[in-house]
Structure formats: structure tokens, C-alpha cells
Symmetry: C2
Subunit: 194 residues, 2 copies
Amino acid sequence: MSTHSYFICPALKCLVSFSDCLGSKVFTIIKSDINGNITKIRAVYVTNPAKYTTLEDILVAEREAHGAEWPKVGATLALMWLKRGLRFIQILLQSLADGDRDENNPNLIRVNITKAYEQALKRYHGWIVQKIFNAALLAAPYRSNFLKALSKGEEVKEEDCLANLRQFLVNYTATIDAIYEMYTNLNAELNYTV
Amino acid sequence: MSTHSYFICPALKCLVSFSDCLGSKVFTIIKSDINGNITKIRAVYVTNPAKYTTLEDILVAEREAHGAEWPKVGATLALMWLKRGLRFIQILLQSLADGDRDENNPNLIRVNITKAYEQALKRYHGWIVQKIFNAALLAAPYRSNFLKALSKGEEVKEEDCLANLRQFLVNYTATIDAIYEMYTNLNAELNYTV
Ligand SMILES: CCCCCCCCCCCCC/C=C/[C@@H](O)[C@H](CO[C@@H]1O[C@H](CO)[C@H](O)[C@H](OS(=O)(=O)O)[C@H]1O)NC(=O)CCCCCCCCCCC
Ligand SMILES: CCCCCCCCCCCCC/C=C/[C@@H](O)[C@H](CO[C@@H]1O[C@H](CO)[C@H](O)[C@H](OS(=O)(=O)O)[C@H]1O)NC(=O)CCCCCCCCCCC
């Protein structure tokens, strides 16, 4: 199967319900940034669903339509940022699934969040947003609450929850990898910071 | 003239162009919170412009429609927050017009922003958002650039800019005062923190 036939919707749904797992009101802000990305991508898609059967179709069409402005434009820009949020979540969940822990604070997930941040987002953030990240980190939920929320509040044993997570991560990681690969192949990745 | 006949649109326009004056990308986030408030109020207004000739009409209608949920609902909630952002800006501009300055850093406006924050917003923010505010403060523009942006980049002498500001603040402050008074009178103010 070509990497381009992956469709983004399941990943999007995951992302939005993921942010529902983040307790604090602080995260409604992040959610609205992410929802903005999704709205932008969908808005292009619905103009011609038959034409845009893959995400790559959208990027290629925008490259033709926007000339020198591209790739810092439209759904191409929205997906560029969205994939970083998706990668952040993937690394965070993988780190939990792998059992990475701060032995002194076993019920905190700051080490996992920090790992995900460093690998997925930090390089695209100027020092002020990095400082804001550090402050927001204090609003991170406890490990136990976070895992419970991932299981939608159902009574699931921690081991079962982690097993589900590992299962989920197989396709999820492959999808994100494919999106990153597409950005590399189309030379659509930008490195500016916000 | 009754305080209730004030219309919010000029104040809104000011607020949105105000946030255009804030250089950093950090502030696009705040802008989207504020724009969300505006969208929500407008959405109610346009359902029946003839009925809603004043903001008070909207609050009273929502009080009747929503029962115990009110005032944490709809345009009532959106305006409750919006007015705090408007007050923040008013106090900031007033402080600049009054010449409040940090003598050691005369080209910074952190003292003015902090004063506005303490009076308008801080009590509604939990400690994490307060920490985020402190980080965001580092992204504040320089005084000279900020005043220039307020004059829409035109070549205006600082003294003229401040005189315009003082002129502007007369009606602006009265409008915001009226909105606050309305919330007090209708017992529509809430004190929860985010
Ligand atoms: C009054 C007091 C308070 C003061 C207010 C301070 C405000 C603080 C704001 C801090 C920044 C919040 C994070 C958002 C950052 C965003 O700036 C970036 C870039 O955002 C992109 O920018 C593009 C243009 O360059 C387009 O507009 C994109 O939009 S477009 O669709 O139009 O093309 C947009 O997504 N997104 C990001 O960095 C993505 C972030 C994903 C986060 C994933 C989860 C992280 C969880 C962290 C847990 C600890
Ligand atoms: C990935 C790395 C980064 C991690 C991301 C961190 C994210 C950081 C987010 C920080 C918070 C940003 C400020 C926004 C705060 C908002 O939470 C509050 C309440 O917001 C209100 O909440 C209500 C429900 O309670 C409704 O939803 C309202 O919405 S409703 O319309 O639906 O009813 C909504 O406006 N508004 C506020 O406090 C208003 C703030 C106005 C600010 C005015 C200018 C300040 C300038 C400061 C200069 C230094």
C-alpha cells in the first residue's frame, strides 16, 4: 500500500479526544490551535473530495496553485503543524507504553511529556514559547488519571490500557511517519520558529 | 443617555487591532480567545438584531432562556470574559497615557502590562496561567514600537500619540464601565478561575 493512501481522519479524531484527556483549561488553547489546523485541511478537502483522495493530492494542488508562497500556505501549512502535534502525542504515548518513568515521581508524566516535546516541537518554538511550555507542564495530569482518561473512564487495568496503547500505536505511528515522509519527499517542510 | 445604549462594536474593533499591535506570535493565541468571544456574541445578535438593540437585551434574554446555567453560558459568558480583556487594554493604555514608567527600563512596557494584568485579569487566573502570563510578558513589544503601532505606523510624535490615546480613552473607558455596571446590576458576574 502506498503511504499516500493513508487517510487522516482516524488520527484527527484521536488527537481531539486526546486533548480531552488533558485536564486543565490551559489545554483548551492548544486544542483550538489544533482544531484550526483540522478546519483548514477539511475546508480544502470538501471543495473537491473526488479530487483529493489523499493528503498528497492536496499538497500537490496547493503547490501548483500558490507558487512561491507554498509551502507556508493553506492546508499544507496546517498539516505541517498538525503533524507535529500528532508526533508529540505519539512520542508521549510511546514513552508511556515503554514504561519510561521518573522513579522519584512515578505518578507524574512530565518526563514523558518533556521527551515528546523535545523530539516533536521544541525546535519550532522560540525561547518564550519554550518558557510557556515549561509553565504549562505544571498543569499536566497525573499518570493514573491520564491513563484512565485514555480508556474513556472505563475500569481497565493499567496493564490492559498499556496493551491497548501499544496496539493503537502501530497504525498511528505508521500514519504519522507517512505524513512526515511526504513532507520530506515534496520538500514541503519548513523550520521557522514561532 | 442610558448606559445600555452603548454599542460594543467600536470597542471590539479597537481590541482586535490592539492585538495586531502585539508583535509576537504568542499573541495570536490570545487573539483567538478574544475572537471566539466576539463570534459568540455576534452569533446571538444576528439571530434577531431588532430584538437585541443593546447588550443588556442579550443578557436578559439569555437569563430567561437558560435558567440555572446562566450566567455561565452563551453570549453572557463570552462578554464576561471579553470585558476583562477590554479592561486589561484600557488600564494598559491609561497607564501609558499617564506616563507610568520603569525608570531603569524606560522603553519597556512591562510595568504597564503588569498593572493592567493585576487589576483586570489576575484574580481570574489560577497559578499556572499566571506563570504563563509571566513568560508571555517577555514577548511584550518595546514602548516605542507599541506606540508606533497604535498610530498605525504613521509618523506621529509621541506626545501627539499620547494625546490621541487620552482622547480615545474617554469614551472607551465609559463603555467598559457601563458593561461592568451591567454585570453588577444583573448579578451576572462570576469569579471562578481558569
Ligand atoms: C493573559 C495571560 C496569558 C498570556 C497568554 C499566553 C499565550 C500563550 C500561547 C502559547 C503558544 C501555545 C501553543 C501554540 C503555538 C502555535 O503558535 C504553533 C504554531 O501554530 C501554527 O502557526 C502557523 C503560522 O506560523 C499557522 O497559523 C497554523 O495554523 S493554520 O491552520 O492556519 O495553518 C498554526 O497552527 N503551534 C504549535 O506549536 C502546535 C502545538 C501543538 C501542541 C500539542 C500538545 C502540547 C501539549 C503540551 C503539554 C504541556
Ligand atoms: C506546546 C507548548 C505551549 C503550551 C501551551 C500553553 C497554552 C497557554 C494558554 C494560556 C492561556 C491564554 C489566555 C486565555 C485564557 C482563557 O482561558 C481565559 C478564559 O477564557 C474563557 O473561558 C470561558 C470558559 O470558562 C469561555 O470558554 C470563554 O469563551 S466563550 O466565548 O466561549 O464564552 C473564554 O473566553 N480568557 C482570558 O483570561 C482572557 C484573556 C484576555 C487577554 C488580554 C490580553 C493579555 C495580554 C498579555 C500580555 C502579556
